[in-house]
Each structure stands twice: as C-alpha cells, then as structure tokens.
Symmetry: C2
C-alpha cells in the first residue's frame, strides 16, 4: 500500500512544520496557511490532510505522546530486566517533563493544545482520555511497591497517583516560565518521591535514566 505510506509520511512532515512553529513563535494565532508555508506545500494540499487547526493539533499531540511513550519505555528497559516500581515511576514522570529540546517541543505543542481544549469539549476529551489510564498505571506501580515493602500501603492509591501527575504538570509549567530549570524541576520531583517512598537506595535514582 504505497499510497497510504505516502499519506502518513506527508502527515508527519506537516506535523514537523507545526512543531517548528510551536517551538519558535508559538501556535497562538498561527494559521493553517502559516503551517503550509513552513511545510513548503500549498494550503489546499495541507487541507487534504487536516481540515482544521484542531485536527492538526490533535494529530501532532498524539504523535508527540507516542514518541514520549517510546522514550519512557526505552528508559525503563535501560533500567534492567525487572525494574522495581520506584525507578519505573521516576522514568515515567521524568519523561513527562520538558528536560531536553525534544520533550520541550512536545510540551509546547501540549500547551497550545491545552489553551484550545479548555474551550472545546472534543479536544478536551482527547486530552483527558489518557489520564485515567496513566493514573491506573501509576497506582499499580504504587501497589506493587507497597507489596514489596517499599511504600506504606496507605500511600498506594489512585489519589497519590493523581498527585504525581498533577505535580509533573505544574513542574513543567514553571520550567517553561523559567522559574526553575529542568535540573531543579527533576530535583523537586525527587523530593516528592523521597517524601513518598523515603530516601532512595544507592544507585536507584540514576537507574532509570538520570538527567
């Protein structure tokens, strides 16, 4: 199916153009025409793939989440055959922070998407849908840690998982506003994890890809 592959490749190219705009001047006020120009194609051709800015943003965000997921999985695999829950959690949470150029672009597209999603139920549903899955996964890791005696059982809850997700969102905000740098944000995340689990064992912190 060579034609389908070409369409996908073209969508990725357009998405790349969107990312470049997101990482420089931002997407507020950026039109489909602007993205077409950045991608070096006509507006008509772009609209063959994405009819609206929202459709394009949704595609770009899905692609970014997929890439972030790949990064996080690689980071967990690098931690060894059977990583324990704490480094898995840390790898996931660190993977959600804008710590380098790539993850920063992802976060910037996320910000643009979020600014529109708060006024659009369909975009909001898409942004929201991944969260219960993530929260359940984090809660599973917390329960696993409690079973292994690495966490007080009373802390192995969905609510503690949601605190982790919320905290990382806020830490990201203040990286983008230059309140703290990526390294400081990571240290704040580690402080929260140390409050939750206790001080890290030797080498545990670095095992899942210390930045």
């Amino acid at each position: 199916m060579p034609k389908k592959v070409d369409h996908e490749a073209r969508r990725q190219e357009i998405s790349g153009a969107l990312w470049r705009i997101a990482s420089t001047r931002g997407l507020d006020g950026a039109s489909l025409r602007d993205v077409a120009a950045e991608a070096g194609i006509s507006l008509g051709r772009l609209q063959h793939y994405f009819r609206t800015k929202d459709e394009m943003l949704a595609f770009a965000l899905r692609r970014i989440n997929q890439l972030a997921g790949d990064r996080i999985r690689a980071s967990i695999e690098a931690a060894g055959a059977e990583p324990s829950p704490r480094p898995v959690l840390r790898a996931c949470l660190a993977g959600m922070l804008p710590l380098d150029a790539k993850s920063r672009i992802g976060t910037l597209v996320g910000v643009a998407y979020f600014a529109r999603a708060v006024h659009d139920e369909q975009l909001r549903a898409e942004a929201r849908d991944g969260i219960p899955v993530l929260r359940a996964f984090f809660a599973d890791q917390l329960r696993l840690a409690a079973e292994r005696g690495e966490l007080a059982p009373s802390r192995a809850t969905e609510d503690e998982a949601m605190l982790l997700i919320s905290l990382v969102d806020g830490l990201s905000t203040y990286i983008l506003l230059d309140v703290h740098g990526p390294q400081q944000a990571l240290e704040l995340l580690d402080l929260h994890l140390a409050n939750l689990f206790g001080p890290p064992a030797d080498g545990e912190k670095g095992a899942a890809g210390d930045q």
Copy 2:
C-alpha cells in the same frame, strides 16, 4: 483627578470584555477588534488604552491576581485573629484553584497568558515575577509551622513551598480538562497537606473557608 479615574474605569471595562471572551470561546485567535466589539467601543478607542493584545492580557492578569489576593486575604481573615500557618497555606492554595465561576475566569485568562508567555520573554518575566515572593511566603508559613511543632523541621523548605505551588498549578489544569471536579481537586490538595503536616485537627480544615 476625575480624568484619571475615568481612564482606570475604562481599562476595567475593557478588561471585563476580555474576561467574558476568555470564559466563553477563549482568547486564542481573539483580536483587539473582537475585544473592542465585546466592550462596545471602537478599535481606536481600545488602542488608546491597550496598544497590543499582550498589554491587555498583562493588565487583565494583574487585575485577576489582585482580586484573587483579595479573596485569599478575606478567607484568611475569616479564619480568626491569629490563624495558624496550615489554614493560611490551605486558604492561599485553595484560592489559586478554579473552584468557582470567578476564579475559573481568572484561571482561563492565566492559561491564555501562559500560552503566549512561553514564547515571549517580557510576558514570561511578568508571569514569573510573583512566584519567588509566593514561594518565600509559603516557606515562611512552613517555618512558622515547624516552630510551632506542627511540621517536621526538615519539611520547612523553599522546595516544599515550590512543590505546593506546582501541585496547585497541575490540579488547576486537570479541573479545566474535566479530569476531576473542583471538590476532588480540593481533596487532592488536602491529601498532600495531610502527607506534609499529618491529619488535620478537628475543624482546622474548614477554618480557612472550606469549599
């Protein structure tokens, strides 16, 4: 100085129009002309007060922060003559969440401002400037709590204060995305405070304006 008062009143009116747009269709793509139309004045007249969208956003955000500050102070004063640090902290943090229609509009303007600030150093500086002051105030409250024996001294730090600020930012995000409701967000905040301080004393939680 009647003339000056009029100018200020006009700025507030324009700001009100901006808030109405922010709370309905959002500010992404909203032009100065749109705001002028909503305020029922000409574009030229609006530009007499605000030359750019960014100037207008900065004014609206300052005004919103001022109103939020007033709300929080009222809530602290309602807690009694000498409120202890924990209810003061809770009142401040709850006051930063979009729990009702007014604070929700404030948060929505904040989102629009943030989406532009990530690409503009001047807007970013303005958004960022209040944070160290807030962090220092929260850290002072934590130290006061430690002195009173209500908090482990090791937790009375600027970093713990920054965790509180970051957490509230993330909790707000997920209210706006309908991941959780205002009441659930408040319960998550209370969970974090209980993890920090221990379970609340009878009536303490509600003293600073339980929602």
